[in-house]
Symmetry: C2
Subunit: 414 residues, 2 copies
């Protein structure tokens, strides 16, 4: 029964057809979003529990949105509930690192046409290590966010409208054949997106040439841009695998400043919380692992659908960024087959002779093997900013708790 349910989850993960249909202000499209709400990464916490960079990012979001005049004002309003904090995953969104969404921010809209559900992700802020999602808020960050809202979002939205919607599955499949694992490497995805948008930018050029050229330049400079598109596609994909009775497949993973958590298809929307992840990092310049600060992050939605750490052997170029040898990357990738239900029918790894990527993380297999999901991730530093990248391991405690709950609900699992 569990096996059949897990095959159903696998089928839903593989048969999703995410389509990028537009760009809109969060307030206009995100379910349950309000003008006074700030969304952030991680299983829900009470306001006092948010600390460090994630807390700073929420405060920065409040000031950016005009909900507070300064840090003290924001602190007061967040404490009183005048400004509310929501969890991205509960609103069809996923957050990159701190993952701040405010009402006016532009979000990418992705429909899963196979299942009729929709998901969202906000836009990449650019390659400066100082970004709101890495816990930094200052005039430069403010200006960057405004630029996304006033130029990049509208021009991109117009081009997507002209396209009639962009099928993301073929683009993602192809990117995996071009050296992306679509979590920490998105160079091919971004380039393919530019190729797909180019005719619509040409069509839109008349009377709006400067803004189109600026948008093209922004996309061209930011090889990471596609990650947000991929995250929205992955959220739309993973959401369709939720709520299958008897399924022990992970439907979401999330990280806040203080804990990691997973959701399981057959166990509704409960988060099974554990400690912060283990990390094998390659840090920029002089940083050490002591400098890492946890600020949240949900880009592991890519691993949830069989990409990222589950497709490392498609992305040997990544070693320059996150460390490790090609052999180690292949071995990590190979081991992910031990904990998944099956092989992806669309995403395939050339180095493995076009074997489908391992997909559908089964909590029972994780616990039985002790092999923990490998997650490619960017790492934030104390005081804000990105300081490196590496492989995170989802903590076993989450899977043990989840399996206990599973056993309680469905009986023994082995």
């Amino acid at each position: 029964m569990r096996e059949a349910a897990n095959l159903e989850a696998l089928d839903r993960l593989c048969s999703a057809t995410p389509v990028l249909t537009g760009v809109a202000a969060a307030i206009d499209v995100v379910p349950g979003m309000t003008a006074e709400m700030i969304l952030t990464s991680g299983a829900p916490l009470d306001w006092p529990q948010y600390s460090g960079g994630q807390r700073m990012a929420i405060i920065g979001g409040a000031i950016y949105e005009g909900l507070a005049n300064d840090e003290a004002d924001a602190e007061a309003k967040l404490a009183s509930g005048a400004i509310t904090v929501g969890s991205t995953h509960d609103h069809g969104c996923v957050g990159s690192v701190a993952g701040i969404y405010t009402a006016s921010m532009p979000v990418l809209v992705v429909e899963n046409r196979s299942f009729g559900n929709t998901a969202f992700c906000n836009l990449y802020e650019g390659k400066s290590p100082r970004r709101l999602n890495y816990g930094v808020y200052d005039q430069e960050v403010h200006d960057g966010l405004k630029y996304l809202e006033e130029v990049i979002g509208p021009v991109l939205g117009d081009a997507i409208d002209r396209s009639g919607g962009i099928e993301l599955k073929p683009m993602m499949r192809r990117a995996v054949h071009m050296g992306d694992e679509l979590h920490s490497r998105n160079t091919a995805g971004t380039t393919l997106l530019i190729k797909e948008l180019a005719p619509h930018f040409v069509a839109a050029a008349s009377g709006n040439g400067e803004r189109v050229l600026e948008t093209l330049a922004f996309l061209s400079e930011n090889d990471y841009f596609f990650l947000r598109v991929g995250m929205a596609a992955a959220k739309a994909t993973a959401d369709a695998s939720r709520g299958i009775e008897n399924s022990s497949v992970v439907s979401a993973m999330t990280l806040s400043c203080c804990e990691f958590a997973v959701r399981v298809s057959g166990l509704g929307d409960t988060w099974f919380r554990g400690p912060l992840p283990y990390v094998e990092a390659q840090l920029f310049e002089s940083y050490t692992t002591d400098d890492i600060e946890w600020m949240g992050g949900e880009s592991m939605i890519m691993e949830t659908i069989g990409l990222g750490g589950f497709a490392q052997a498609a992305a040997f170029s990544l070693q320059a960024y996150q460390g490790g040898s090609p052999q180690a990357m292949a071995a990590v990738n190979e081991s992910m087959y031990e904990i998944t239900v099956g092989e992806h029918t669309d995403f395939a790894i050339p180095y493995f002779g076009y074997r489908g990527t391992p997909v559908g993380i089964d909590i029972v297999k994780v616990n039985a093997t002790g092999t923990l999901p490998a997650i490619d991730a960017g790492l934030a530093g104390r005081g804000g900013g990105q300081i490196g990248a590496g492989i995170l391991r989802a903590p076993r405690e989450c899977f043990e708790l989840a399996q206990a709950a599973f056993a309680e609900r469905y009986g023994e699992t082995t």
Copy 2:
């Protein structure tokens, strides 16, 4: 002395800076080109020696250019010398398969800014297996060539002009990190070229939008497009490595309908001719190796500069097209280090831990090891058209002859 000379050749191969500067009619830019001349692949042959598809392609070129009314007329004029046949390599050009250039055809112009030399390549005809360079000439082929001349060439040339010249080395380096070996796989190269051209297409759109959109669509449909850009860059690169006294490094390899040939840096422009290459092919559908027809080909200029078969381990995706396992591809690539002078300082293979590609084929090492250069190539069939792809091995006889000539000129080589 030979060692120093070969290091000089290596340095020139690595330090080239090819820049795509424009598109022009062959007659306007190709050195020595005349209105009545047709260029074709291979070491020069007398007209009666051209046979099969290569002969048909030359005749097709004559008719296309309006130099002859029909096949019989073309035969007569080619026999009489009223229409002359030239060898691409002697005119700064390289040919794909039969490699036909006529006076009016648009060619890509690539300058090697490190050394001041220029090279050319004509345009990809599109993905139909029926193309002039595969020995086919009919109304459809004619129309395709006219379309290149009247739409693709001018729009592309205008965009390149607006760009002020496109640096190709960074694009090629990056493509190798995105799964291309830039001979039989050019998907990343083509996509990166589109990205580079996109802003200039946007700028050119006003008043010319339809033609720009057609050109973008042509580039977007044809993942192979970049091969011609790469070939011109490689020819400009390899040409700068010619004429180094005492160097035993291969400066060109070529194939006609009846023989393979190599040139060696220290031995001037002499071609050392041998039999047709050995082939390990993956053929389309029902074809067998008996169906292969040799029509010429000079895209092995990519191997001459350390790409193609010398970078297979960067392009595991290629196995779907030309066969072989990832392990076999890595082994072939690895073995090319046995016959080369050094490692490329720009083109590096992620799977080999970013080791530079093997570059600078040394005829002495080829003869000493018996390892023959591996060439990724498209294969033509009897009656014309592409029937598959595979690995060619340059025949040992060329290297033996060349080494004998080298010994005669410079004394013993070992």
